[in-house]
């Protein structure tokens, strides 16, 4: 029951973040959604994810505020309101049809299949010696995932450095 309440809170925050006109308020509302997600992870018995989501949300909020602060924000008035809304709703309906077929195949909530994870749980303590099964999975059983993640992070840092650098950039106004 408390999970549904948290989810409703997140949906409310998301609607506010989407529909409000001030960009700073919008960013803060999406921060509230992220903190609600952290609480939901805690209820769903995932304390690793709760800690990570909490600190990542704070850093994400700082970066987004840095992007939006001190910018004059022109109020965007939409032309072709009807056409845009109709095409968006059509796309969402198309997505929902596929989501319906996917939801029929899912196991019931609260009864996971755990075909792979059963072996990890039973053989994890002997094979790795770690008490935290999640750490055992990401660093021992499935360490290739973590290696790929490190590569993606490295690429993102290089991308930010390349986009933001001053040296070697061609001057716009001659």
């Amino acid at each position: 029951m408390e999970l549904q309440l948290i989810l409703l809170f997140m949906i409310l925050g998301a609607v506010i973040a989407v529909e409000i006109e001030d960009l700073l308020s919008s960013v803060i509302a999406v921060g509230a959604v992220g903190l609600g997600l952290s609480l939901a992870f805690l209820i769903l018995k995932a304390p690793d994810l709760a800690i990570t989501q909490l600190v990542v949300e704070i850093l994400c909020l700082i970066i987004l505020i840095r992007a939006t602060i001190k910018k004059d924000l022109p109020l965007v008035k939409d032309g072709r309101w009807l056409f845009n809304t109709l095409s968006t709703l059509l796309f969402i309906a198309f997505f929902l049809i596929f989501a319906y077929f996917a939801l029929r195949e899912l196991p019931r909530f609260g009864y996971p299949l755990m075909r792979v994870a059963k072996g990890y749980i039973s053989s994890g303590p002997e094979k790795t010696g770690a008490a935290n099964i999640v750490a055992a999975i990401i660093l021992d059983f499935r360490a290739y995932d973590t290696l790929g993640e490190a590569t993606v992070l490295f690429t993102a840092v290089m991308g930010v450095l390349a986009v933001m650098r001053k040296i070697g950039r061609i001057k716009d106004e001659k």
Partner: protein
């Protein structure tokens, strides 16, 4: 702006001086106990980056870059990546990539679980310093822009 010194007011600076060490210590704790309790390299790395960002927001850019300059940050990030990869390659001593070749130890001890604590340290270096670099670049750009105008 009466005074020329960078950063925020005296209250913020005093509180930051008291708390920033605790935040860094908590991040190191989270990293080292990643195989026993919730946490691990990702969360601990982000907490370490947040401690340096806290310092930078309160005291201005120069103080934080004196603690961790950008050249040293790039060296540390590469060190994290190389450490992680070399731990993986050392698995060939026993057979295959990412083999847990170290002594496992007793569970629930700090020194246990073979390569997992070392991998946690490598990932925390990589994540923490990488995110700190991203933040420094984004803030540095804004300061350069204001100097030009």
């Amino acid at each position: 702006m009466k005074s020329k010194e960078k950063g925020m007011t005296l209250i913020v600076k005093t509180v930051t001086r008291l708390t920033v060490g605790l935040i860094l210590l908590y991040g190191i704790y989270i990293v080292l106990h990643g195989h026993l309790s919730p946490g691990g390299g990702f969360a601990g790395g982000v907490i370490i980056a947040l401690s340096f960002i806290h310092l930078m927001l309160a005291f201005g850019r120069e103080t934080a870059l004196k603690k961790l300059s950008q050249a040293r940050a790039s060296i540390l990030e590469s060190l994290g990546a190389i450490m992680f990869l070399s731990i993986a390659v050392l698995g060939f001593l026993g057979g295959y990539f990412f083999l847990n070749f170290l002594f496992k130890g007793k569970p629930f001890n700090l020194f246990s679980a073979g390569i997992i604590p070392l991998c946690n340290i490598a990932i925390s270096l990589k994540v923490g310093v990488g995110l700190f670099t991203i933040f420094v670049v984004l803030v540095l750009f804004k300061i350069l822009k204001e100097d030009n105008e």
